[in-house]
Symmetry: C3
Subunit: 139 residues, 3 copies
Amino acid sequence: MNYREVEAAGEYLASLDNGADWREEIEALAERVDADAAWFNAMGAVRDAEVWFYDQEDQEYRSVEFDEPLEVAACVGNVALLEGDRFAHTHAVLSRPSGQSVAGHLNAATVFAGEVYLRAFETPLEREHDEVTDLDLWL
Amino acid sequence: MNYREVEAAGEYLASLDNGADWREEIEALAERVDADAAWFNAMGAVRDAEVWFYDQEDQEYRSVEFDEPLEVAACVGNVALLEGDRFAHTHAVLSRPSGQSVAGHLNAATVFAGEVYLRAFETPLEREHDEVTDLDLWL
Amino acid sequence: MNYREVEAAGEYLASLDNGADWREEIEALAERVDADAAWFNAMGAVRDAEVWFYDQEDQEYRSVEFDEPLEVAACVGNVALLEGDRFAHTHAVLSRPSGQSVAGHLNAATVFAGEVYLRAFETPLEREHDEVTDLDLWL
């Protein structure tokens, strides 16, 4: 395992805009507070969601779209630089009225309401291509 | 998106009482450490749970009750003032013996065992009525 | 509820090794940074997973094995001493290509890729046998 000690550059609470994109809002927050590295937690609700699953054999993402309102029961992620831009790697657990849940890599989702805690770090994180997984990983 | 930089007033680990209510225990912790704003993470197990889903069209919460033991696989939330009282806005992902999971806004649940990390902030958060969503939001 | 104020001894980001065990990697991180108490968040993907559910009546863990690639949509846990060794109490929400999710206490899982934020605390946490739940709890 590779690891790095980090130092906080600032910590933030944010309320996401109704109608905006969930991941883009988090990237906009990172932009506003000038964070090239951050860890975040979030919760709320979305009007729809596009969830990705990484096919480990074919090394490609598979997309599933949920065109329905969902609670964001848990959202965990981090911000790093990907080809020079801030990218919020976002995973989420979403739920339906029955409580049934779906989860995965959250590519896009329309915010209904969202509450975020973001912790920015001093040292930038940069994603680089990893040969074993064919993913862009940091450290 | 609205955001605020926050400063930590203290951070705490807590072990919740068997038989108590999950959310009330977190609110009692906030009370004990005098936190009017906090972010938390938790995990554990409950004997039962009442999970809410917000109907975005009718703008009302729908409740589902699970009268069975469940693992708390992930719990994310925050503490803010709601009409003058500390309210722990709590989302959780719960699971059954098969691993099947249910999730949503956790209104109530009887603690079997619970481990919590709570980070209190200096500046109070206050929830106010939001016209678009008909929810009480902060910031 | 029992609680303790904690002070951070350091905070770390880690990237877990492909092919290693998810929980052992987190315990190795705690070892490397000399943390006898920590809280962590993680996300990523695994090749398989062994998830436990605690039977609250029989007071025994039930195991379910998933021999398939899964996203780690959310992972929450903490590090404490258990009989003198560092133990990473790890809960996780995992998901399939359809988005369907399973969750619980994560005993073991083979890392495909994993990103971790770990916050180490100054004062050690020690797990001790709890008579009510027959679990090893801290505080």
